[in-house]
Symmetry: C2
Subunit: 242 residues, 2 copies
C-alpha cells in the first residue's frame, strides 16, 4: 500500500484503513514514522533500505499464516515501491494468499502540485538509480524522452555515493532543452520541504537540496515560469481564444 | 484539486477538506456526482466537457472576488486536468489571487494497482487524444517510449468519434512488443469497473470496454502475467537470490 508523499493529508482513506485494520505493518523507518499516528495495536516491523527481499518474504510468511499485513511504500507502491517484488515472490510460489495493491499519490504528482502545473501534457518518469538497471538503459530513456517532447520527472536523482548519473543526465538533457524550466523539490509535502526553480544550466547551484528525497521535473520547450510556479500549457491556446 | 479515480476511498484528506471548506465547487457533472456526499452548503456549478476555458474563467472570477473556490479534476489536476489552464489564465492576468494545486491519485496509478504491479520500472503517460496536440507528436512519443523500454500508459484511448488513433498505436507498438501483456481497465476504482488482460495482438477483442473512461497499460518485454495480474519485475532478480 502507498502512503502518498508523506503528510497524512495526502494519504487516501483506503490506505488509512488498510493500516489501521492490519495485524502487522512492515516498512522502512521513514515511512513507519510518517504514519505513526495511525499505529495503535498493530505489530510494527521496521526494515532497512536494501533489505527489500527479506522484508517482502517476511510479509508473505506472516500473511500466509493468516495475518492481515500491510507493507508500506512511500508514494505509490507501483512506482519504485514494493508491489512488484511482493507479487513476483507470490508468483514464484504460486501462492493463494490474498493480496491487494493500494495506490497512493506518487512523488511526480505531489511535486507537480507544489510547482504549479508542470506536467499537463504527456510525461515520463525515470529513476536515475543504476542499482537495478544499467546506466546505458537509463541514458537511452532520457534521450528518447527528451527528444520526443515528454515532460520528464527524475526520481532518485543522486545519493551520497552516486553523483555521476545526475551530471550525465543534465549534460544530455540540456542539449535539447537549454531554456526549459526545471523544478526541484526535496521532501515534497513533508516536513522540511525545500523547493527551487532553475534551468538545466543552473540546476547544480541547488545541489544542496538534491538527494534521494528529491524529485526533479524538467519542463518541455513550451513550459514557462510565472512567479514561483512552472506552467506547461496544455494546448488549449491553439484551439481557443483566452 | 484532484479527487483520485472516483471512489471516495481513494480521495486524499487534503482534497476532501478543500471541497468541504469551499464556497463554490466547480466541475463536470461526472466528478461532481462522485463527490456528492461531500457537498452540503457549497454552491455547485456543473460544467460540460469542452467548456474548460469558460469554467476556469468563472472560477477565477469568483476566487478574485474573495470566494473560496474548488475546481474539481478527476484523478490528478496536473494530468490532463484543469491545473495548467487555470494557472495559464492567472498568469495572463498576472493575478494576485491565491491558488493551491491539490494532487490526487491519477489513473495510471489507480489502474496499475488494480492490475497488480505493471509499472515498477520507468513509465510514460501518453494521451491518444489529438484534440489539442497533433497526431504526429503523439506518434513520435509512442515510438520513442516503446523503443526505449518504458512501460506505457495510454490515456483517452478512444472516444465515440475518434477510433483511428488506438488502431494506429497498436500497430506501432506491437512491432516492438508482440508478446507483452496489456492491461485494460474501464472505470477503474469506480462503480462499473471492468478489467481485461490481453496482448497488443488481442487488445481489440476487448473494444467493448475501451472508451474515454479506460486506461490501458502496455507492459515492457519483461512483464508477465500471473493469475489475473500483470507483474513487471523491478530488477531485484538481477542482484539477489529469491
Amino acid at each position: 500500500m502507498g502512503i502518498g508523499p508523506g503528510s497524512l493529508d495526502d494519504i487516501t482513506l483506503r490506505a488509512t484503513r488498510a493500516v489501521t485494520e492490519s495485524d502487522y505493518v512492515i516498512g522502512v523507518a521513514t515511512y513507519i514514522d510518517q504514519i505513526s499516528s495511525l499505529l495503535h495495536n498493530q505489530k510494527v516491523i521496521k526494515g532497512v533500505m536494501g533489505e527489500e527481499v527479506q522484508r517482502a518474504k517476511k510479509a508473505i510468511e506472516l500473511a500466509s499464516s493468516g495475518h492481515n499485513v500491510s507493507i508500506v511504500s512511500g508514494g505509490d507502491p507501483n512506482v519504485f515501491g514494493m508491489a512488484s517484488l511482493v507479487l513476483e515472490l507470490l508468483a514464484l510460489q504460486d501462492s493463494t494468499t490474498d493480496v491487494e495493491v493500494v495506490p497512493g499519490v506518487t512523488a511526480v504528482n505531489a511535486v507537480a502540485a507544489i510547482l504549479g502545473a508542470p506536467l499537463s501534457s504527456d510525461y515520463a518518469i525515470i529513476s536515475l538509480s543504476d542499482l537495478l538497471i544499467p546506466w546505458s538503459e537509463i541514458e537511452k530513456r532520457l534521450t528518447s524522452a527528451v527528444e520526443s517532447g515528454f515532460v520528464i520527472a527524475l526520481y532518485n536523482p543522486q545519493s551520497r555515493k552516486r553523483k555521476i548519473n545526475l551530471a550525465r543526465s543534465i549534460k544530455l538533457l540540456k542539449k535539447h532543452r537549454p531554456h526549459a524550466p526545471v523544478g526541484i523539490v526535496q521532501n515534497g509535502a513533508r516536513p522540511g520541504e525545500m523547493k527551487a526553480i532553475a534551468t538545466l544550466e543552473t540546476l547544480m547551484e541547488h545541489e544542496a537540496i538534491i538527494d534521494m528525497h528529491t524529485t526533479i521535473i524538467v519542463g518541455n520547450n513550451e513550459s514557462f515560469i510565472w512567479k514561483d510556479k512552472i506552467i506547461t500549457p496544455r494546448g488549449y491556446q491553439r484551439k481557443y481564444e483566452y
